[in-house]
């Protein structure tokens, strides 16, 4: 198969060929969808620092542990005290741990897209069979999956613990299912927002700061306004205010439809009518993030 070629006079040590001829490749070429899947798995592994330097494994792994430890403690307490119920609802867990989740998306979204922009690797991707949309889908799906792993893992710990503590099976399974749907939506929403912000800047630091700012400032503003509304007795305004930050969006949606108790002041969650608006807002935001990413990468091109 290999074609032997006489070695030309070596022009330097580095360019010498040791008389092993060039072998051409005639195996399968798996095309666009395979390339997209490869990019997805590479990005997903990258979101936990796998296949990257030791240094870049530290933060995601640490955050993963921080997410799971409280769940483990709760389970231990529930088992030890023979409690009738888990101290925290499945749907509530992600809301309590929102700071950790925000930190994760802030650190990993720029890692996923800003690096390709900064080191100008994007043109190399687009000089291959994949299209802009494939790149965006692979990156979006990878970060959303990474966040789902982060947020669903503690729920699994809780669920397994609940079963070990011999809590009511049907009850727990229903709660667990609702929790999974809730964190799946949360993952899609947070990943979308994080990627849109990060894809604007090739500088990783800016990306991290911007994502954290958007997540915390919006949550801070919304919960302050909600507290003021609560203090002034205008409780009907509370659910509408909640539409303006990612965390409260998920909170409102799950208290309307997923049987969660709301973390809003006075525990006034949106009713079913308002809940529809929440669902539309979440789905609309996810679609908008995807659309913005597509637009962004149409421009980057080569």
């Amino acid at each position: 198969m290999a074609v032997e070629h006489p070695v030309a006079a070596p022009s330097g040590d580095q360019t010498r060929i040791h008389n092993i001829g060039y072998r051409s490749y005639d195996g399968p070429r798996l095309g666009r969808s395979y390339a997209t899947r490869s990019l997805y798995s590479q990005s997903l592994r990258g979101a936990y620092g796998l296949g990257r330097s030791v240094k870049s494994k530290v933060l995601p792994m640490l955050l993963f542990v921080v997410m799971c430890v409280p769940a483990a403690i709760m389970v231990a307490v529930a088992v030890a005290t023979k409690a009738k119920d888990l101290p925290v609802d499945y749907t509530r867990y992600a809301i309590i741990m929102q700071a950790v989740i925000s930190l994760y998306v802030a650190s990993q979204a720029p890692q996923s897209v800003s690096r390709d922009l900064r080191f100008k690797t994007v043109p190399l991707y687009f000089s291959r069979p994949i299209e802009t949309a494939d790149y965006v889908r692979a990156k979006y799906a990878a970060l959303a999956s990474a966040m789902f792993i982060l947020t669903a893992a503690p729920l699994i710990v809780l669920y397994v613990g609940a079963l070990l503590a011999k809590l009511d099976f049907a009850d727990q399974t229903k709660g667990f299912g609702q929790g999974l749907v809730s964190v799946a939506l949360l993952s899609l929403l947070f990943a979308g927002i994080g990627l849109v912000i990060a894809s604007v800047t090739p500088r990783r630091g800016f990306g991290i700061a911007a994502v954290i700012a958007v997540m915390t400032i919006s949550y801070g503003a919304v919960s302050t306004l909600q507290a003021i509304a609560d203090a002034q007795g205008s409780t009907s305004a509370i659910p509408w205010i909640g539409l303006f930050s990612p965390v409260t969006l998920i909170d409102g949606l799950q208290s309307a439809f997923l049987g969660a108790s709301s973390a809003f002041p006075g525990a006034v969650g949106p009713g079913n009518g308002e809940g529809v608006v929440y669902v539309l807002a979440v789905l609309g935001l996810i679609a908008a993030c995807y659309g913005l990413l597509l637009r962004r990468y149409k421009k980057v091109g080569l």
Binding site: Y22, S24, Y25, D26, R29, G31, S53, S127, R128
Partner: protein
């Protein structure tokens, strides 16, 4: 796809021989403020083809269009017989691309990076690993391929960039300014490597540069564009035949204290025109530049120097700078214009 079953590079070359690798037909690309390509019609066969032009002449725009990434404003183009407007993905599967700018993440090793890029081209995981090891060896990267790219020299980075363009065994590679930023030795190594991509690997090459000289040595065919227009398209043998200039340097002896002048006079006596070579540079006076009219000019120089009893330090072909092509083209344009005016009057 009809070429996929062919196994060895050599067979493939003969198969591709009568095929046009790149064909464009009055290809134009206009941006709001500039016209990057202006009705460019080209036919490029297999082999190493140089695309020469000053910065901003439209070379990179041309590559983008040929990769099917940027639509042409007007005209059409085919790569490997596939229309760029409709078959972009199929073209990109068979073509490699080495960009002009840096494109390597510093925190991964060359092996990891090239494996990833091979998979992005559709190679299955095992094949991607094997091809990566082969390709990196062919471009001259050995032990260092396991170290992070951040610590590489410019020359090594250029090799990694070249490797990622070749790893999926394309039928054609686009190399955008591959010698940029390299020192003279690195340049020569890279040019040698580019030559081997065709002769040893059987992959056709389109290489851009703003230096005509270095492409003349490497390419079978050179295309010169300026301001998006085709200035010249010819095989390199044509080029050298029409433009060869000889540089001659001789020693001085007691008999001829100024050997250079003696040779100049002797050559003049035998009817060989010596160009004015002083140019104001120190040492330039010791080098005689003359136009080679053919093989016999070399003999004349040899005989003249031998008759005078001088030592011949060097006799080499001088390569022309791109600017000379432009000036000669301008001159011929001028002449045509004058003729046209003459006829009109």
């Amino acid at each position: 796809m009809q070429l996929c079953g062919v196994t060895t590079g050599v067979v493939r070359v003969t198969n591709v021989d009568d095929v046009t690798v790149i064909a464009t037909e009055s290809l134009s690309k206009r941006f709001p403020r500039v016209t990057a390509l202006d009705r460019l019609s080209l036919d490029v066969g297999p082999g190493v083809t140089g695309l020469v032009g000053a910065n901003g002449a439209g070379k990179s725009t041309m590559i983008k269009i040929l990769l099917g990434l940027s639509p042409a404003s007007e005209g059409r183009a085919e790569v490997l017989g596939l229309d760029v407007a409709t078959k972009g993905a199929a073209i990109r599967e068979r073509v490699g691309y080495m960009p002009e700018h840096d494109c390597l993440p510093p925190d991964v090793s060359a092996t990891e990076f090239v494996v990833h890029m091979a998979r992005m081209s559709g190679l299955p995981p095992t094949a991607a690993r094997e091809r990566t090891a082969d390709t990196l060896r062919h471009v001259g990267l050995y032990e260092e391929r396991y170290r992070p790219i951040g610590g590489y020299s410019t020359g090594m980075k250029q090799r990694v960039k070249l490797a990622q363009a070749l790893v999926h065994d394309p039928q054609l590679v686009f190399l955008d300014e591959p010698t940029n930023g390299l020192d003279p030795v690195g340049r020569d190594d890279m040019l040698g490597l580019i030559r081997r991509i065709y002769t040893d690997f059987g992959i056709s090459v389109l290489v851009t540069s703003h230096l005509l000289g270095e492409l003349e040595r490497t390419c079978d065919h050179v295309v010169v564009i300026d301001g998006g227009k085709l200035l010249r398209s010819s095989s390199t043998t044509d080029f050298t035949q029409t433009t060869t200039t000889l540089a001659v340097e001789v020693t001085d002896t007691d008999e001829h204290p100024d050997g250079t002048r003696a040779v100049r006079e002797a050559l003049h006596a035998r009817g060989v025109e010596v160009l004015d070579s002083t140019g104001g540079l120190p040492g330039a006076g010791h080098i005689l530049l003359l136009t080679a009219q053919g093989e016999e000019t070399y003999d004349v120089v040899r005989d003249v120097v031998a008759d005078l009893g001088l030592g011949l330090v060097r006799m080499e072909q001088r390569r022309h700078h791109i600017s000379e092509v432009f000036t000669s083209a301008d001159a011929s344009d001028e002449q045509q214009r004058k003729e046209a005016v003459g006829h009109g009057g």
